[in-house]
Symmetry: C2
Amino acid sequence: MKPFSPLNILYAQAGGVTPVINTTLAAVIETCQRHFGHIGALYGARNGILGVLHEDLVALTHTDTATLNQLKHLPGGALQACRFDLDTEADNPQQYERIYQVFKAHQIHAFLYNGGNGSMLTAQKVADYCARRGHPIQVIGIPKTIDNDLAHTHCSPGYGSAAKFFATSLLEAALDLRAMYPTSTKVFIMEAMGRHTGWIALSGTLITENLPDVPLQILFPERPFDYDALLRRVKQDLSRHDHCVIVVAEGLRTADGELFAVARPNSLHRDWSQLGGAGIKLADELRRDLDTKVHVAVPDYLQRSAAHMVSLTDWEMAYDVGRAAVEAVLAGRTGVLPVIHKVAEDPFEWHTPYVDISTVANAERPVPPSFIREDGYGATQAAIDYLRPLIAGERPVFWHHGLPDLRPVQFPAVDKRCPPWRHTP
Amino acid sequence: MKPFSPLNILYAQAGGVTPVINTTLAAVIETCQRHFGHIGALYGARNGILGVLHEDLVALTHTDTATLNQLKHLPGGALQACRFDLDTEADNPQQYERIYQVFKAHQIHAFLYNGGNGSMLTAQKVADYCARRGHPIQVIGIPKTIDNDLAHTHCSPGYGSAAKFFATSLLEAALDLRAMYPTSTKVFIMEAMGRHTGWIALSGTLITENLPDVPLQILFPERPFDYDALLRRVKQDLSRHDHCVIVVAEGLRTADGELFAVARPNSLHRDWSQLGGAGIKLADELRRDLDTKVHVAVPDYLQRSAAHMVSLTDWEMAYDVGRAAVEAVLAGRTGVLPVIHKVAEDPFEWHTPYVDISTVANAERPVPPSFIREDGYGATQAAIDYLRPLIAGERPVFWHHGLPDLRPVQFPAVDKRCPPWRHTP
């Protein structure tokens, strides 16, 4: 604690957004407000680390209650969230020097980076550089990702809501299919986000509680995809049940490592291939081989922005990690992020201990073998037991004229103190 | 009224289902129960007119309150809904004779057919045949379709909920896009159902109330699609706003009448081509021509089965047409269907007068020119004024273990009294 020199904090959002990342932002603001005196100014950088490079900062300290409530219900990233990784210091020392200068100009003592495993690496790099340059800032990570692929946490804020939306939608669509299959669609496919892991696809298993006899095949990227084996299973489902529901993760790969999805390289970002297409491709192949009507849903952003169906548990977790991040600053910590640690099963309870950023950065947690049924096409009871508390409860929705009352939030810009940033990007 | 000879009624569901068609079924059951004495037995045919041909009937008369409440919240079609049209009587007189025999065997006085414009034609054919054969039954249509393309009604039960889901999801995804566009996705496309009409696509315009500055292009099948013109508009949006939201109806056609969607003929049903793919195709072309990241959502069945987000107005309308259909039977009417007639603007009120089935059968109502902006890429204020009351209000959702409490309903089978139906289908 440094009671006589108030701490200035800079917060930013990075990577794919979630329906609850702005709740984390609201928690950061409220916690800072509660510690006014110890904490001086809270700034936000727009567009993640890019906002630091461009000195594109906003003032968050005095955010009012109405705006905070708005944030707690707003999907997307209110500060905008970059997909951008820093170069190595050897390749681009100017980037690091610039960040250092911006931190110094605004007397930033702590940097909070709210993102996934890639963003944690960025946070680590920044902390290392600043320490060496003699401006040791506290760097605290804050976890978020619908992908649930962060290591060393029970789950990632954002995942519970995405899973709730995905399972609910699948249940509803499966009931639709039940009405149609005798004369129309016999196969319904739903594509889940998940470039390398099948966490969202896994949530599809939850519909079996409502539909114990549903013929359901889940395709996990954790298992090599064998189209012929799937085709045999679907044929069996059709002969027994006359219909079949399939969940496919977008990042499915065949045994030789080839993406089953249509990969679309994006020339703007050399390290990023846009996925999507596994469901479409699978539907086309099954139509050809089964000579039947196949429907496919690709919810895409809908599954990570469904503010109208946020899990109450997930919402609370997103708040808790924001609060814990500020508390870590106050406790003088650095190089850590708060994670979710389960402490009780029933009722489900968690706390938010800290782990080293370095153990999380760029690590990726797949769906564990104990959650995937031995045949590879479904989930175990252990998976259901894991999932159920994460989707529990419903955050209230405020409706206005028939739509959720969601409006973008504006924050006041902070005057620039540095020359413009002229380097790439 | 025939107080001394109780009427037996047969009800069936046909065509693509909606999130509220089972509410109509619940209304039919409850209204029959209220008129017990005048009405004798209420039967359901499973799978539409096919259930009549196969004498696959269930008993609905004594459905209990718990089941009725379940039905009022259940998406899909609880009795299963066929996509099947009768042959002409000249081509297949056995079909008609069979239906006649099943009606006679169960002493059916009235046949209620809950469907879209194609189903109304089926109902009409059945009525005509039975009248000529000397078993004059009352035939009452009941409107339903998320497509909203039925003529002579203010709107179709099912549409308000589909529009509410579509607009809500688009709003949420547009907020997601706002967070991502500086470094990632710049174009988000969402594909709406609508084989020939743009009614669901139209609902996308509702997001402009929350996002007045959103760069939004809506592509209506009512207008010939000109890819180059759209590309120019998207480029303009990107230069001004750095992002763009596009809504595309699946049934988009170019000026020469070609489907822009990928048409997939389904050999099982010679008169049906499965659409879907307009969004995927558009995304691929825009990626090529803009060299930018494009995301596309294809909600497919999600938009017509979203029981977790049913419009209260739509729910009430779905109930009203079910009740009105039974009341038409009691009033001795035939060859009609109840429709929605707006009687007051604010507060929004409607009643359910009857129109002749023949005026609705196989007619198709496109989005009127007054609802489409002059440039063809957006909606008018008149459209917004039309849409808003239809999506108003939220039906309560019963959650259980984090998911909506939706479970299929079972009805007792009715003993068969006819020989098996051996003819096609």
